[in-house]
């Protein structure tokens, strides 16, 4: 049989040597592609190259005034910097490529070049920063990757806050805030260094405990990455059996395999952190007080996103708008999550009359278009933040109830629930202790994406004049002003529009990644 096959193979070979070579080529190509794909160093530097090139080209296009055939020098310089950086990343990625393909160790000097890439964050090239630090460390544990993003978040906050230096004046607490943040960068870099030393794939050094506590404390700046490292380290230290992995850490691990979802998470964490740090480094009065001597100024260093028709700095308004959008978005998701979740759990657990009553009432609510319901509620009770949250919450209760009900219906017949029932546990104990924790995964995913939708609805309501008061810097409000200056001062609409787009995309990517990570079929 084997001989026969060999024969026939020979036969084929005689006939088509060329085709065989082609097949071999394809095989080699596929192997190479697999090798490259598995090298995080190569993929991240490649991504940094592409991203820097794209940013450079976009800025270059913006710097050219096609109508007047002139180039704005500042923008052109910035574009040039990005293009040079992309060339550098291209060089690094080519060197990495040859190293990976020839199965060579990545040389020490090549690893150290990562430091150069990391410095590029100073002109806002966050992709080079990630590529740089990814390149510098051979063994990349989850904690190390998290620490890259943690440091990046702090650096970005400092850079964004530093733009205030060009203003006429800064907030009274600005210097204090900046020194604290600078100290935090030092701490983050130190932590990154120590993590690379102490944390190995399977073992975590006992010395991590005090560092982990410090990291958790540093999360008051809203840096969720720091919080995650701290909790992961502590739970790993407390975890007895090293061979068994911890379920939720696995989920985060899988989450970090998806680049887009991690960028989404970074944007979300950055905005949370910015909203908290802006208490120190930004001056609220610049965002709400009219300045009649600085109206409708085009973007410049003092006003990075220009000023609106009341002379307020759009950049500062967007920074403070992040806080309102996130708070409203999260509250308007948390409230229906709790109410809808409870109703759904009860409906799913008790089939029959109770389920029918709850679900039919929710069906009626579901039949009313959510934005219409929100408009009706706000119109009836008046436009303010509390009513807005209430309005957005009520309309999304059925969505969460349905999701939970579906999961709970499956769970209520599971063996462990039967077992609990057989042991004589009361219904509400079963619901709270067994069913709800086991049905959390899908609802967390839905909630994450729901925040994005809630932010969008908040902005839509404000745009319609039914949201928060018009002078409060909410993204929808800022966009509303921009809408009447689309032709003459387009930046008034572009920047808040981008901000809304960015946060919604970030939550969607993050939620998408979370869904993949929690899906047992995709393990």
């Amino acid at each position: 049989m084997v001989q026969k096959m060999n024969l026939s193979a020979d036969h084929v070979n005689v006939k088509g040597t060329g085709r065989a070579a082609e097949t071999t080529n394809q095989y080699i190509k596929r192997t190479q592609a697999r090798k490259l794909k598995h090298s995080q160093e190569y993929t991240s530097s490649r991504f940094a190259f592409g991203a820097s090139l794209a940013i450079g080209v976009v800025i270059l296009l913006f710097s050219i005034d096609f109508a007047e055939k002139s180039i704005s020098p500042v923008a052109a310089v910035v574009a040039a910097v990005f293009l040079v950086e992309s060339a550098f990343e291209l060089l690094i990625s080519l060197l990495l490529r040859s190293a990976v393909l020839q199965d060579r160790e990545i040389s020490r000097s090549l690893r150290l070049s990562g430091l150069l890439s990391a410095v590029m964050v100073l002109n806002g090239n966050i992709f080079a920063f990630i590529a740089g630090f990814t390149c510098m460390q051979k063994e990349k544990t989850l904690e190390y990757t998290l620490s890259i993003y943690m440091t990046l978040t702090t650096v970005c906050i400092v850079l964004v806050s530093a733009l205030n230096l060009f203003k006429e004046y800064v907030a009274d607490t600005f210097l204090l805030g900046m020194y604290l943040l600078a100290g935090l960068i030092v701490f983050d870099l130190l932590a990154m260094f120590l993590i690379s030393k102490w944390v190995k794939r399977r073992t975590t050094d006992k010395k991590m405990l005090p560092l982990a506590i410090c990291l958790i404390l540093s999360a008051v700046t809203g840096n969720v990455f720091a919080l995650l490292i701290g909790i992961i380290s502590i739970s790993k230290l407390c975890h007895k059996d090293k061979e068994i992995s911890i379920e939720w850490i696995d989920i985060i691990n899988r989450l970090f395999r998806n680049n887009m979802s991690i960028m989404g998470m970074f944007v979300v964490v950055f905005l949370i952190s910015l909203s908290l740090c802006s208490y120190l480094t930004f001056d609220y009065s610049i965002a709400v007080e009219n300045n009649y001597t600085a109206m409708l100024i085009a973007p410049c260093l003092e006003y990075p996103f220009g000023t609106d028709n009341f002379g307020r700095c759009v950049f500062t308004r967007i920074v403070f708008g992040a806080r309102i959008s996130l708070v409203i978005g999260m509250l308007a998701t948390a409230a229906p999550l709790i109410f809808g979740g409870l109703l759904g759990a009860v409906a799913g657990y008790y089939s029959g009359k109770i389920e029918n009553i709850i679900m039919r009432i929710l069906d009626v609510l579901y039949a009313v278009p959510s934005i219409l319901l929100a408009i009706a509620i706000v119109a009836a009770f008046g436009a303010n933040t509390t009513n807005l949250i209430l309005a957005l919450s009520v309309s999304s209760i059925p969505v969460y109830a349905r999701t939970v009900r579906a999961t709970v219906m499956g769970l209520s017949n599971a063996e462990f629930v039967e077992a609990a029932r057989a042991c004589g546990a009361r219904d509400w104990v079963i619901i709270i202790k067994h069913i709800i924790p086991n049905s959390l995964a899908p609802i967390i995913v839905r909630a994450t994406m729901g925040i994005g939708t809630a932010v969008l609805s908040t902005s839509s309501m404000s745009y319609l004049g039914l949201g928060v008061e018009p002078h409060i810097p909410e993204w929808g409000n800022i966009l509303k002003i921009g809408s009447s200056y689309l032709e003459t001062n387009p930046y008034l609409a572009i920047f808040p529009g981008l901000a809304i787009m960015l946060i919604v995309l970030a939550f969607n990517f993050f939620g998408d990644g979370l869904r993949d990570a929690t899906d047992p079929k995709l393990k």
């Binding site: 907030a171 009274d172 600078a182 960068i185 030092v186 260094f193 009649y292 001597t293 109206m295 008061e469």
Partner: protein, 607 residues
């Protein structure tokens, strides 16, 4: 590790260097005032259309330490219900003195009995007396009284003046002859003046205008005093007198050849022209000459019904004409010869004859006998209930339009007391001019144009074929259509695409768009749309205290509004300021605010 430390140190050093040069808010703005006053909570009421103004007012008050809450209502109805409920301390409002006289600028809003005295917050006997007295005086005599009214309004802080806006006309200069476009603050644009750049297109092309209201309420001018009928009704009927673009009374394109006011300012004489005939719409939806002359009988009929509250159901404008006592046709020439004109030494006959080609030989009672060329004229005399020189301004308002006596009497056969809109068809009913099965256009138009038909998108008007033929006021363009576009931004787009040829209002932020378009042009002129704040003077509002009102009044830095409106608005003292220069003026001084507030807190502590 060493390199890392070096980098960190470098960063730290850079930050420290910046730190030395950075100016903090306290460095620049100081620690704030020495006296820390308790902040006064204020509710500012307004409509969402005025969001821009409300924001500036809020900002100016917040700067002075007030704690402002904005109560923004989506429409006038809910705004008025908030006024009635007293849910405000200050409210943003305005007044346009569309008849260009002091009485209109004051009576409605500042008189105790005024129908537009918001929340009836202004109750001042001295103010009432002055308004009544000023009404009986001629323009020059009344100026000092209006100055005193302004002084009381400011001194007692009944209002906080803000600004007066600009009236604009944006037009397509490739289509419309710019010379024929004027800016009229006190009336709708006179259509009879408009002309195309290419005069050969007068009969073939349509001139497209715009109105924001996408409905039309009535062709009966006394039943409507709102914007949906403003352009149409002003141009569909003639009046005894008209306003020009300087808001002065003229006989341009009016039914009178001339007018005269008799001594005592109580009797008004008008000598009528004989070259205006009523237009009607024939069965082919074309404007044709009805052959009926517009004459004295029509004037008497029209003004009698204008002043009589019960002449029609839903009379909207009778209060403008409540000073008219009688309207009659004068047939006795000796009356004109024996009555002296006010202020001049001549007789009424001499005054009326100034502008005539043929001297008056006979005054006739019936319009059938009128023939100006042979000296046969009609003269109408209006007697006021008391001396009221400003009567003429109200006769220029569109509610004093001249309708056809026979036609209106023919249509309005219903009983006013038992009028049922479902069965009775009134003159000018919008259903009769709407395209469709109910279309039955019965309008007789005395003006330069007649409404031929309307649909959901436009009001189509055609020129009156026998209107002042041979004069400069003979309408030039045959068809004018008013597009009804309920959104100002879409209207601007329509202007730019050539779908509409002229806009009579435009937000200041869009001016640059029009100016940047080479086929468009913009004309601007200070308008009459004045804006001010009114205080809630009832006991439960903090604004019942004069010091608080004075503080708010002085906080309203008018330069802030001028800046926000990109220099398109002007300082003003009161609505009177838009129509006459009284010599009195007030400029808010924000530096006085804290002084008034300290006085308020002191007096509060004492009591």
């Amino acid at each position: 590790m060493k390199r890392l430390t070096a980098l960190v140190l470098c960063l730290l050093m850079t930050f420290s260097l910046f730190g030395c040069n950075v100016q903090t808010k306290t460095d620049v703005k100081g620690e704030g005032s020495d006296v820390e006053l308790e902040s006064i909570p204020l509710t500012l009421l307004g409509q969402s259309a005025n969001e821009k103004d409300l924001n500036v007012i809020r900002d100016l008050l917040t700067q002075q330490g007030f704690d402002v809450t904005i109560n923004m209502q989506p429409d006038r109805g809910s705004y008025m219900s908030q006024i009635d409920a007293g849910n405000y301390d200050i409210t943003f409002t305005g007044w346009a003195s569309i008849s260009g006289n002091g009485d209109y600028a004051t009576r409605g809003i500042f008189h105790s009995e005024g129908d537009s005295n918001l929340g009836h917050n202004i109750h001042d006997d001295r103010l009432d007396e002055l308004i009544e007295e000023a009404a009986t005086l001629t323009y020059e005599e009344s100026i000092p009284l209006y100055a005193e009214i302004e002084k009381i309004l400011i001194d007692e802080a009944y209002i906080a003046p803000l600004y007066v806006g600009t009236k604009v006309e944006a037009y397509n200069k490739e289509v419309v002859d710019g010379e024929t476009v004027g800016i009229y603050a006190a009336r709708a644009e006179p259509f009879e003046l408009f002309d195309f750049v290419d005069e050969s297109k007068r009969d073939t092309d349509t001139l497209y205008l715009w109105q924001i209201e996408n409905y039309y309420t009535t062709a009966d001018p006394i039943k409507s005093n709102e914007n949906s009928t403003y352009m149409t009704n002003y141009n569909m009927y003639t009046r005894l007198v008209n306003f020009n673009d300087q808001m002065e009374i003229t006989t341009n394109s009016a039914l009178s050849r001339d007018y005269a006011v008799a001594e005592g300012n109580q009797e008004f004489y008008f000598i009528l022209r004989d070259d205006i005939y009523f237009a009607m719409v024939d069965s082919n939806k074309q404007a044709v000459d009805s052959g009926v002359l517009v004459g004295g009988e029509d004037v008497v009929f029209s003004l009698d019904r204008a002043k009589d509250k019960d002449s029609v159901p839903n009379h909207a404008t009778y209060s403008l004409h409540e000073n008219i006592d009688t309207v009659e046709i004068v047939t006795d020439l000796s009356e004109l010869e024996n009555t002296m004109e006010s202020a001049t030494g001549s007789t009424i006959l001499e005054a009326l004859s100034d502008a005539l080609d043929t001297p008056v030989s006979e005054l006739v009672a019936s319009k059938d006998e009128v023939d100006n060329a042979s000296g046969k004229y009609q003269v109408v005399k209006i007697t006021a209930k008391s001396a009221f020189p400003q009567m003429l301004n109200f006769l220029g308002h569109h509610s004093a339009s001249i309708l056809c006596k026979e036609q209106v009497e023919k249509i309005n056969t219903y009983d006013v007391a038992t009028y049922d809109p479902a069965t009775d068809i009134a003159y000018g009913d919008p259903a009769t001019v709407t395209e469709g099965p109910d279309y039955d256009n019965q309008i007789y138009a005395s003006g330069p144009y007649i409404l031929v038909y309307k649909n959901d998108y436009e009001l189509v008007m055609q020129k009156n074929p026998n209107y002042m033929v041979g004069t400069e006021y003979e309408p030039k363009i045959k068809t004018i259509s008013i597009k009804m576009i309920p959104d100002a931004d879409s209207a601007l787009n329509a202007l730019r695409s050539g779908e509409v040829h002229m806009l009579n209002s435009l937000d200041v932020e869009k001016w640059s768009v029009v100016e940047g378009d080479e086929k468009l042009a913009l004309k601007t002129q200070p308008g009459i749309a004045e804006k001010h704040l009114i205080f809630n003077t009832s006991e439960n509002s903090v604004c019942s205290d004069l010091n608080v009102r004075k503080a708010i009044q002085n906080a309203m830095d008018q330069n802030a509004f001028i800046a926000v409106y990109e220099n398109s608005v002007f300082p003003v003292t009161s609505p009177i300021g838009t129509i006459m220069d009284t010599g009195y003026s007030f400029t808010p001084d924000p530096s006085l605010v804290q002084g008034y507030l300290i006085e308020y807190f002191n007096s509060k502590q004492e009591s």
